[in-house]
Amino acid sequence: MSSVSQNFMKLFRGSSGPETIPQQGSQRLTRRSSGLGELSRMWESAEGLCVLDLGSTSATNIRHFTERGHRMYSEDLLTASTDPELLTTDENGAPALDSRKFLAANLVYPAAHFDVVLCWNLPDYLDESLVKPVVGRLWSVLKPGGMLLAFFHTRDAGPDSPCHRFHIVGADTLEMKKIELRQEARRASTGAANKATADGFQLQRVFNNRHIENLFHDFASIKFFLARDNIREVLVVR
């Protein structure tokens, strides 16, 4: 039975997973991404796509898309969420972030504007009070048929999984580097609302499949790719 279940899981496990390529003086990992591979097929065959990258500003990603004639937008939502002016309290008096204020200043785009949104690991590290509002806004700025890629840690990844930035270095290959917060972001007294530390962002929660399906319930379809490095890649279509 164990061999049957192993074979069954192989159907869902892509070849995604990390490879460590040692580079002098750097902490970069590369990982193969099945979700990225699927998206690449789309943007290699299309022209003039509108792409939104919600990770740390990446010249590599900007070059990747602009060289292919696509329009590239960059917005680092995790860093934006460390703005101390967002601090408020919820109905129970617990610290929270003001999602209305956040969305008034971030993700301000016309409706149905983007063909592709790269969320990377944003939902795993974003403050709880912002996750659903942000996903709702992403739905509205994606074109019908537009695609969103997001990464979620599984429980086996552990609570101390570092937050990485992602650079596209191949059709299905990403280079990952641990994010270090800017000095200004470190000074933000976000407390329990953000749990950002001097070393970087902390994993806020672990989504299971049902949570992920609920999070994206307004989207037309959802596809899961389970990788060997305890990352669940999700490709959703509006």
């Binding site: 500003t57 990446s58 590599t60 070059r63 602009t66 590239m72 960059s74 860093t79």
Partner: protein, 118 residues
């Protein structure tokens, strides 16, 4: 372009970090800006450098733009835009060549033919 030593030099203008300007700036020489400017900057054919203490709130048009500080506004450079690691840019960038150091922050659209990673 780094801050020139020993004061103003011919063909090179400076705005020091204690200076605050509200209004449109235009010129026909290179500009090093380390102060605060609220308004557009037009230096067609010349270079603009926003120093580490520089803050610009307004659109920028120049031949090349180097940002080390903060810039809020659209950037149009006929040749090149360079974001150093301390740069925080909010606005759209239109240029032929874009260079971004790791650590720089950009929030906006990029309309470039080449983006170089550093």
């Amino acid at each position: 372009m780094s801050a020139p030593a020993g004061g103003l030099q011919s063909g090179f203008a400076q705005i020091g970090k204690s200076v605050y300007i509200k209004g449109e700036l235009s010129g026909s020489e290179d500009l090093y800006l380390d102060g605060k400017v609220e308004g557009s900057i037009a230096l067609k054919g010349n270079s603009l450098t926003v120093g580490p203490h520089g803050q610009v709130k307004g659109g920028v048009e120049a031949k090349s733009v180097v940002v080390q500080g903060k810039l809020e506004g659209n950037v149009q450079a006929s040749e090149r835009v360079e974001l150093r690691k301390s740069a925080i840019v909010t606005g759209d960038i239109t240029t032929q060549r874009l260079s971004i150091e790791e650590g720089a922050s950009l929030k906006g659209k990029v309309d470039a033919q080449r983006a170089d990673a550093k």
